[in-house]
Symmetry: C2
Subunit: 350 residues, 2 copies
Amino acid sequence: MIMDDRKKRILQAIIDDYIDKAEPIGSRTIARKYELGLSSATIRNEMADLEEMGYLAQPHTSAGRVPSDKGYRLYVDKLMPTHDLNREEIRELNSATEDRVYELSQLLRHATAVLSNFTKYTSMAVTPKLRSSTIKAIQVVPIEAGKALVIVVNNAGIVKNSLIKVSEQATSEMLGRITNLLNDKLAGLTFEQADTERIKTLAREIGVTGDILTPILNGTAECMYQMGDHEMYVEGSTNILGHPEFKDMDKARQFLSLLDEKTSICKALSDSARPVGITVRIGSENELCSIRDCSLVTVNYNVADTMVGTIGIIGPTRMEYSKVISSIGYMKKLVCEEINRLLGHEHESV
Amino acid sequence: MIMDDRKKRILQAIIDDYIDKAEPIGSRTIARKYELGLSSATIRNEMADLEEMGYLAQPHTSAGRVPSDKGYRLYVDKLMPTHDLNREEIRELNSATEDRVYELSQLLRHATAVLSNFTKYTSMAVTPKLRSSTIKAIQVVPIEAGKALVIVVNNAGIVKNSLIKVSEQATSEMLGRITNLLNDKLAGLTFEQADTERIKTLAREIGVTGDILTPILNGTAECMYQMGDHEMYVEGSTNILGHPEFKDMDKARQFLSLLDEKTSICKALSDSARPVGITVRIGSENELCSIRDCSLVTVNYNVADTMVGTIGIIGPTRMEYSKVISSIGYMKKLVCEEINRLLGHEHESV
DNA sequence: GATTAGCACTCGCCGGGTCAGAGTGCTAAC
DNA sequence: GTTAGCACTCTGACCCGGCGAGTGCTAATC
């Protein structure tokens, strides 16, 4: 059977309507509402064809039709109307960066909150993987007698610090010497390379310079560890309760408890996103079994080229794809700009 | 009518049973299960009395009895058995600080996650209010040509930083002079006092020393702002779906959307907690109307005496009070210890 | 006088039966 | 190829009666 233009128009009409109504769509509805110049009987025949071809499904005999994953896929790839963000919508999305933002994590929280609020689905984000970024600078700064702060900066300008106790005798000059030493030995390495093992080796190489060096190395290791850690933010998880596909309590619970499992979601996000552009994974296209009746829309954002994080929106397969796709695309742009601003890659000072 | 010992025993039995079963408790159940040496008829009479006195309520004629808020209050104050944490439970709670913890926010996230998991209710925490802490030290550290890091430390050893752009000509000696100047002018003040206004005034006092000072003052203000911000963590929000009082979707949704409103929850937490000790707010005792059918158990934790944060557990009024109270008490202790360790108030170095 | 056994009564829950509505597939006519 | 008409199917809402749990009251008992 061939997928002619008329079939496509009918399929689109069904999916559009189903996305809106969340109920099986009957032939009469389509005939009445969309002006295709066809009677319900004709549409009925076409719908039977579309079902046979796998684009539609029937929950039970004598019910209307429902799009299948394959149907949504065609819809997303070819049929979907584009959603142009209007002024009001852009204003709403912009609010993610309106408030004072001083950290990447905060930026991501804002972005996910706004996105989830805007789309009424659940939005997620993971911080970039920084393990493969390189160490730009290490500083040991005295704070008061007996206390110092170890600071590590990576090539994107992301800063981590760790408070340490040092010997009371440590002069700021000694700390300066150690700072230079650490920079010599570690700067330029990736955080992966500068693991705890390496730092221990370094300690042996230098020889135990009394009690001063040890806490500093510990602090450095701590910073390295922090840099390697990546966090995840989920907002609007309860939005799904508003969608009829989750009116069944058990389903809702299953979905929500999945979101609590940060590791698997994190993996799903990273796995899903392609290097560039927006990825849409519909229902069974998802590798994670427990979201096989959801769709996941993801996009990567970059920090200084090498470091990649991901933003995602998850909702039922019956999702307003066009709206989700345009809003996540816009948000990615916003986030990238803001990251550049935050890390001082732009010309404006903070 | 007088609240004699027998009434108390019966009330306790009813509440114990109701907390377990979540269904109206009948006189026969009590007579059979608890060995009070009384027939169901006698207990029935006592229950009628307890209802008249306001400790029990009846969902409808010919149903069993359910504790009222007043009943729970007496239970919590006088009747409740104490819950001694066993070895296994302590091990579970301890896991909050087992993982590498390097920040207060991370500590609180762990603590709330463990608590919510342990109690099966929802757990929350707010970071301490630091606005009234004092500035201990400010440092401006050069990172690379044109970039520097402003670091502000408060009297508890909490560190905030802000990356800034500076003139390429700024030497580390100049930055050192400015550091000294800032310390002179600002150290010892509270963050409340050192607001943006004050910093602007400072800029005027010093006179515009070219383009070097401005970004540094901006960075300092940024740090001040960060210090004043306080965050909130909520974990296990979906736990409530497991409790029968939220089997009604609308109720669950209402509860969950409340949790999304960080500000009101934050306020409820802070308002509820008394300066010391564990506070229990039962149902209508809560000021926030939307949690009038929940109970909120809170405790404050201190950072260096003056800075106070709060941990809380929220669940249905039919809550395992004894377990919740002992676990939150233990967690407070853990958190306090860990904070001391983190901020170097202890003797062990990191 | 307190306690208890007995009994009539109340109420929510559950399962089965009925019915209307929406939608289909098929056939025959256009 | 398209459409009108019709018989058929399935779901969901509604109603109804029976069951079980629990009560309050009364009268008998300790």
